[in-house]
Symmetry: C2
DNA sequence: CATCGGTGGTGCGAAAACGATCCAGCCGGA
DNA sequence: TCCGGCTGGATCGTTTTCGCACCACCGATG
């Protein structure tokens, strides 16, 4: 009989493409992965990977195995999810995923309040760039900005929150300098993968330089605060920053709607219900700020 | 993340009803099973068994887990089966299951011939009472006597063999003694769970004693050879035994049909094809013997 | 052409899992 | 009532597994 856990290692390699990346995802040493997949191949009597210098690539046999290994994973995840859904104790782990900008500029105080309110709940905030997969139970609750309601996965339960607006911002000092006629080039600051939104216009100011590209929102904010130029930001970020002002003559535009997403079985959990109720109350209170009405 | 192999241990306990029986099926020490299921319960945070003095009984949570654990097993078995089906080398393991009586009274010489013909095939003969489950890959080929074709599992591939007849037998000495008028009681020898078939009659002799019950076919044959009474036997058993004769005045009756059963993916294997072709040739040659025509 | 980041592979000492064994409790039959 | 067979549980020495530190190799890059 094969060791079922070896199949888990096999899956990690098949997805990661290399033994070392699989080891990273699994949180073990790469030699362990090496040994276990070798053992699995020996027991099955089939070579499932081509061992190339560039990594492990699935063979035809490996492809067939992959399909059923994924089935095993599905069952295993459902098993965990179902057990977790039975857990009605308040104490335990609660994993929340949200975009880095929501965490750092808006909700961290609220997350802290919640943690203080429920000291027995162990919280884990996943605010990395990649969106965690709720179905795979990488997180229990997701706070996401959704542009089109149709893009929401059907298997998730969504609780609609306030709408989120954005505007065009510039550093207060730089706006004054512009009005004074400083010749320094004024640039669009854009996140490489996003570009300039259709709805953005330059308003009172005029672009005089080439775009300034950054890779993440934190750098974007730092750049606009330095007076490098103008950029689009969610209102709750721009309005809250005393160094920034909206560029006169520009409009607000809807970014999307904030949704609190949970997954079937885990939604029944007391921890999850406590959190979603708490966070939706807080979000409702933030509605004017999120809509960009706080400075009207 | 849970250890997937622990789920396999969980399944074994859930089915065996106790840690020790699970350890027996898994081929490990019972303390290992104890530790691994404890670890699984700890990681899931749920008690899946009631620890009774009489054994482990599933809790409600355990019942829910069982369902998905069985799904994992199905995927795992399919995985093994699919990989095994790709294996076209002659050398390797071949597991055959048949009833003890077929093995010991008819086919063992043929199995030995096949093993001599293919020394590179490692053979395993499962002739225990319980019928091995082909779908679970406990065996690769099953030789079974089927009374009603409709009882064949649909997912198995069947190769129809000769028909099998049975008759009523008595020890040669005892028949002579009966004719001489010995007053010793003459009994029906029956296997407890079977009883006396509808079609059996006593023919020339007359029952004078209470039934003699045995639990298996080997004991039944030993009893009738000792002259305890009469019994129904497959013709290939009774006719081949020089100590036994058919009771005059009794008829033959069809027991059922011999089928060679294989399972989807494993059927493609060279080993399995070699064996099924070999054994069906041998069975065809046995057809008169099996039909009880060898003494006509 | 040296370097750096990536790959798989290999020995060795530490850590974890395992098997053997013993124990206590329960239960049914002699 | 005692005994044997069953149950789970705890302990202890041994075996297996794991993580670490290396190595060789490859390709891109400065």
């Amino acid at each position: 009989m094969i060791d079922w856990d070896d199949v888990r290692y096999f899956l990690a390699i098949a997805r990661g493409g290399s033994v070392r990346s699989a080891a990273g995802h699994l949180g073990v040493n790469h030699s362990t992965v090496l040994r276990r997949v070798a053992r699995l191949e020996e027991r099955l009597g089939v070579q499932m990977f081509e061992k190339l210098p560039s990594g492990y690539r699935l063979t035809a046999a490996g492809e067939e195995v992959l399909e059923l290994a994924a089935q095993m994973e599905t069952s295993s995840l459902q098993l965990e999810t179902r057990v977790f859904g039975r857990d009605q104790s308040v104490r335990g782990l609660l994993r929340v995923t949200l975009t880095p900008i929501l965490a750092s500029h808006l909700l961290m105080p609220d997350l802290a309040d919640f943690a203080r309110l429920h000291p027995e709940i162990e919280m884990e905030i996943l605010s990395s760039g990649e969106l965690a997969n709720l179905t795979n139970r990488e997180a229990d609750v997701a706070l996401r900005v959704v542009y089109d309601r149709k893009t929401l996965p059907l298997n998730l339960h969504g609780l609609k929150g306030p709408e989120l607006f954005g505007g065009v911002y510039i550093s207060r000092d730089r706006l004054a300098a512009w009005r004074a006629g400083t010749p320094d080039p004024l640039r669009w600051i854009v996140i490489s993968m996003h570009g300039i939104p259709d709805w953005a216009n330059e308003g009172e100011v005029r672009i005089t330089g080439v775009p300034f590209r950054v890779t993440d929102a934190a750098a974007e904010i730092a750049a606009v605060r330095q007076g490098l130029g103008i950029t689009t930001l969610p209102c709750f970020v721009g309005d809250a920053d005393p160094l920034l002002v909206r560029v006169p003559g520009t409009d607000l535009h809807m970014y999307g709607t904030l949704w609190t997403l949970t997954q079937g079985e885990t939604r029944k959990t007391k921890r999850v219900r406590l959190f979603t109720e708490f966070v939706s109350r807080r979000l409702a209170a933030y509605a004017p700020l999120l809509a960009g009405l706080s400075r009207d």
